[in-house]
């Protein structure tokens, strides 16, 4: 962790909050979504966490690491939001009964793995990233992407191959990096 981060958070230093936001906003929101099933509520949960963190900064005492602290706080708030929603619809109720209660560890682990992939994709060159996301997020076939971008199918295949290769490599090096330090 960045040295003095807790002290900088306590002093209200913008760069420290920005750092936390950059590192954790995407994974925490995604983590909240696993429980709340709502994009808007998940964003609110994480934004409110940052606001509380700031308001309580003077009495901040983090026993474990800050990452666990943030995940745990998002978990608790998400469950509270669910209760407040009063389990309106049946699907929701069913989902909560099935999935939520004990699955903190597993949900966090899955989110962190997805976040690693997210960061690796962010590192791709703009063109490669665009093609890869068209394929994976928009669910477009290679020939559809080729037609849309005015490129050959061969080029699309090569770009996606490159994306797969380079993402795997980055994921591996992030993994090594985490455990080498």
């Amino acid at each position: 962790m960045t040295p003095g981060l807790i002290e900088r958070l306590k002093s209200g230093d913008e760069s420290a909050y920005r750092y936390l936001f950059d590192q954790y906003y995407a994974p925490l929101t995604s983590f909240a979504f696993r429980f709340t099933r709502s994009y808007e509520i998940s964003k609110d949960v994480v934004q409110n966490l940052f606001i509380r963190l700031y308001q309580n900064r003077h009495s901040l005492s983090i026993q474990s690491d800050i990452k666990s602290y943030l995940y745990k706080a998002v978990y608790n708030s998400s469950l509270n939001e669910l209760k407040r929603e009063n389990l309106r619809d049946e699907h929701h109720q069913h989902y909560i009964a099935e999935h939520v209660v004990t699955q903190y560890d597993q949900a966090r682990e899955e989110t962190e793995k997805e976040h690693k992939i997210f960061k690796a994709i962010e590192q791709l060159s703009p063109k490669c990233r665009q093609i890869f996301l068209m394929s994976r997020i928009d669910g477009m076939k290679n020939h559809e992407i080729a037609a849309e971008l005015g490129l050959s199918i061969r080029t699309i295949e090569t770009q996606i191959s490159q994306a797969l290769k380079s993402i795997r490599k980055t994921v591996r090096s992030i993994y090594n990096f985490l455990f080498a330090v």
Partner: protein, 316 residues
């Protein structure tokens, strides 16, 4: 062995492939020691991952920031603080004057405190990559007046717009382009611009202007206040962004300099370099030890790493 293609992989993870196809894919996974779990996430793209891409990171940060009265970190000596206070006052007066004459445009500052390169998409579709520790500021009405300022190191891919020149302010220099890509590195001793594509004008307040073409680099030396220009010989000026370090008949001291910059370490060399052969190799997202170990195989050297200090000893 080439990967089986995204469409086949997708069918594999959906369970709709023939036994032959499954065998081919599994052989490929084994042969390349692929983390099958990561591959599955990458191919099936579950909703948690999708959601991360759907967030508007920058906009959500600004929304949050408005709710927090955060402080800007200030670590300056006393007299500088006084100067800063006066300057701030002037700026405050200036911005009040300015704000009263324009609509409510805001300055957005993005800094990279993390370990990974940060990518910023600007409102005019230009893209900026920030190296660790770098900072970029721009106004949210950038589309009308394309002027930004920066500190540290950044790579710019500027969207072509002939009627709106794109200007980067860095120290007392101005870098002006129409649509091109280039790297800017800035520290206390220099501002250095290296052009990847297109044409760039580098201008300083006190010593005129140089034009740089693709493959050139130009720099402003702070101490002598001079502008200079040369052909860029470094293959590694973009290593911080690409993760690739490449050496081709490179003398050891240049290798050491590139490694030092890439890993943010101090590299010192002891022993006579005179008879040492030049070094040739290529690394993708390497770690420090990996490079030094590989150098040891072809060069008569030993090395030690202590914290941020790396020492390379040439054996006589």
């Amino acid at each position: 062995m080439k990967d089986p293609g995204i469409e086949l992989l997708e069918r594999y993870f959906n369970g709709s492939v023939s036994d032959d196809e499954a065998n081919t894919i599994e052989a490929w996974i084994r042969e390349n020691r692929i983390d099958a779990e990561a591959l599955k996430l990458l191919v099936t793209f579950p909703e948690g991952l999708r959601l991360m891409f759907s967030l508007n990171h920058e906009q959500d940060w600004l929304a949050l920031k408005q709710k927090l009265p955060l402080q800007r970190a200030v670590t300056l000596p006393h007299f500088l603080l006084r100067v800063a206070a006066i300057v701030t006052l002037c700026i405050a007066v200036a911005s009040v004057l300015y704000l009263s004459t324009t609509s409510d445009s805001k300055t957005i500052t993005v800094s990279n405190a993390g370990k990974l390169v940060k990518k910023i998409a600007l409102p005019d579709s230009s893209v900026v990559y920030l190296n660790t520790g770098a900072e970029l500021s721009y106004r949210d009405d950038l589309r009308q007046a394309r002027t930004v300022s920066m500190k540290g190191e950044a790579f710019f891919e500027v969207k072509r717009d002939l009627s709106h020149p794109f200007i980067v302010k860095v120290q007392q220099c101005k870098v002006q382009v129409l649509g091109t890509s280039f790297n800017i590195f800035e520290d206390t001793s220099r501002v250095e611009v290296t052009v990847a594509t297109g044409r760039v004008a580098l201008q300083s307040q006190d010593s005129g202007k140089v034009y740089l073409e693709k493959g050139d680099k130009g720099w402003y030396a702070v101490t002598t206040a001079t502008l200079q220009k040369a052909v860029n010989l470094s293959r590694n000026y973009l290593s911080w962004k690409t993760g690739i370090l490449e050496f081709s008949d490179t003398p050891l001291n240049e290798v050491a300099a590139d490694i030092g910059k890439y890993f943010d370490v101090n590299v010192s060399i002891t022993g006579a370099q005179g008879s040492l052969p030049a070094y040739t190799s290529r690394f993708e997202k390497p770690d420090l030890k990996e490079i030094l170990e590989e150098m040891k195989l072809t060069l008569p050297i030993q090395y030690t790493i202590e914290g941020r200090n790396v020492q390379i000893m040439i054996k006589s």
